[in-house]
Subunit: 184 residues, 2 copies
């Protein structure tokens, strides 16, 4: 049961984003810019970072939602699972492996991101902007994960819920629908 | 040395917020609403949460900046130091002790925020909104700390720098000055 009263029909982050609309708005904007804005990383690659960080933080709601988003964007149901299992053996480019390792280090602690980890990414062709965005996406998902778990929100267990949510965040992105969410 | 090129005259978070202005804008807005917007927690109390979380994450820049902001807002140079040393013996109310412990648990992991920790706050008079805001402020400062340290930004060692920064964020808040920052 959540630590504060939240609507039953809005699990995970969705109820929190309706609880305080004024703080939700910049959180949504930041996410929309970082995950859907112009970037040399694909939307699917950026969702892999979100899924990996959420998995390392053991935040079931965000892990399931962003894994599904990555699956849909990459048209591949195995990639996110492989990344979360072992970045080094996942079927992604060397550049993405290096960036995903930077994200995993950021999840542990900002101070864990070593010059060697950054050098590896740069040698594999990563730009300053890609390194910057990887750290900021990882930091943003630590915010989400701590927000979602720190208030003990509910994570549905039915995969159909995350299929619906994955379709929403890949189709419409992270903006709030006009009028909010109905119960249906 | 930072992992990406940042201007020498803009240490810590200040250079990152100028590096990507589009992502900086919602980060600034969220901070302004949470730390300076209407609340039953004083601005000084909210800066204590920011300082405690930054201290636990060992992020020297944010720790020094928000400690100074708390000092100025509370007109007391000892309170933030006492809180960071031991919340339980710090000269703050029982409600603030309970909220600061929730912030410290959020820093560790969202899943560490127990029903007992929340009950303690509620018994001491904390509202749902205060509990919500404490978790979100703690989560936001984990984002900041991971962003600042994950890109290896520089933390000045001169206390005069944090006096200047503390006066800026207590006087003008977290909004960007028109035209950004000069070198002077």
């Amino acid at each position: 049961m959540p630590h504060i009263p939240l609507p039953d029909h809005l699990p995970g982050i969705t109820g929190l984003l309706e609880y305080r609309l004024d703080t939700a708005q910049p959180i949504r904007e930041l996410t929309q810019i970082l995950l859907r804005g112009e970037s040399t990383l694909s939307e699917g690659e950026r969702e892999l970072i979100a899924a990996l960080v959420s998995s390392r933080n053991c935040t079931n709601f965000c892990n399931a939602a962003h894994t599904k988003a990555a699956d849909l964007l990459l048209d591949n149901d195995e990639m996110a699972r492989a990344v979360k299992n072992d970045v080094e053996t996942a079927p992604v480019s060397e550049k993405m492996k290096a960036l995903l390792q930077i994200a995993a280090l950021t999840q542990q602690s900002g101070r864990a991101v070593s010059p060697d980890a950054v050098d590896r990414a740069r040698i594999a062709g990563a730009t300053d902007r890609e390194i910057h965005d990887t750290v900021l996406i990882a930091a943003l998902f630590c915010l989400y994960n701590k927000y979602v778990d720190g208030l003990a929100t509910v994570a549905p267990t039915d995969p159909a819920y995350y299929q619906m949510l994955g379709e929403r965040i890949t189709g419409r992105g992270y903006v709030r629908p006009p009028g909010g969410y109905s119960k249906s």
